[in-house]
């Protein structure tokens, strides 16, 4: 019975990665809170997870050449959507700082949850290896 990290860790490593990507996008929204004409963006987390799950179950596209595009759980441009503004400002900026900050905090919490799951996977592996 071979142990592979991919199988042992399950979806959580992809979830953690997706959380980091989302944190980056939200941080960018907040940094541009005062930039005229900037459109706030966010990613469809569910779609990203679905993609990760598909690539895990072996239905993903195989890359046999360095020039092949990555179709797995990366944050390509297609994953990034534009937020529908609640109340756009006159200068064309669609960042709602308070809402974005809330989302950022929430995302950080979800990140911690994913981290906890991933960490417990490692703890389990260590226990199995030690046989204590």
């Amino acid at each position: 019975m071979a142990i592979t990290f991919d199988k042992a860790l399950g979806i959580h490593q992809h979830a953690l990665e997706a959380r980091v990507k989302r944190a980056e996008v939200l941080a960018n929204n907040l940094a541009n809170a005062d930039t005229p004409g900037f459109k706030a963006r966010d990613m469809d987390f569910q779609a990203m997870m679905q993609k990760a799950q598909d690539s895990m179950s072996g239905f993903g596209m195989e890359k046999t050449h360095s020039g092949h595009m990555d179709t797995s759980a990366g944050a390509g441009d297609s994953d990034l959507l534009y937020r529908v503004p609640n109340q756009p400002s006159v200068d064309g900026n669609t960042v709602d700082s308070q809402a974005e900050q809330t989302r950022f905090m929430r995302n950080a919490m979800d990140y911690q949850a994913s981290f906890q799951f991933l960490n417990s996977k490692f703890t389990g592996l260590t226990k199995a290896l030690k046989g204590e």
């Binding site: 940094a31 541009n32 930039t35 944050a75 981290f115």
Partner: protein
């Protein structure tokens, strides 16, 4: 993992906001700087922000299909500083040392109330970027403890 990018993004935000605070300070400090001609009068300065796109940083990357976390953007930058075109204030002060032959002096077109509001806005935005940096830092520190008991 691209948590390091968040530091860059929040850092660029902090730089931009502190520059905005700088112009505000300059405007308020010079709000009463009178002058005898319109050419030499101080004019309110404003920074112009624009979003940095990742593709601007690595123009060659996208052509080769290199997929980083592009599209997420890479923060904000200051395009430049523009001087306000608003009307200067002309006041009749014949006793002013800088008064022209008609007895008028020119005061800058700084709106102090507007500058104060701008100051609060930029200081809040700065704080927000600091918060983000702190959160990213704690996320990164968590990652370092991965696999520990």
């Amino acid at each position: 993992m691209s948590l390091g990018n968040i530091f860059d993004i929040a850092g660029s935000g902090m730089t931009a906001q502190s520059l905005r605070l700088n112009t505000t300070a300059s405007n308020i400090a010079n709000a009463e700087t009178a002058s005898s001609s319109t050419d030499t009068t101080y004019r309110a300065r404003k920074p112009v922000f624009s979003a940095i796109q990742q593709s601007m940083l690595n123009p060659g990357q996208q052509a080769f299909g290199v997929q980083g976390s592009e599209g997420a953007g890479a923060g904000v930058r200051v395009e430049g500083i523009v001087e306000s075109e608003a009307e200067l204030q002309m006041r009749y002060e014949p006793n002013h040392p800088a008064a022209n032959e008609d007895g008028y002096v020119f005061y800058p077109n700084v709106n102090v109330v507007e500058e104060m509001a701008d100051m609060m806005s930029s200081s809040r935005s700065f704080q927000m970027n600091v918060d983000i940096m702190n959160t990213a830092k704690s996320m990164m520190q968590r990652i370092l403890t991965l696999g520990q008991q």
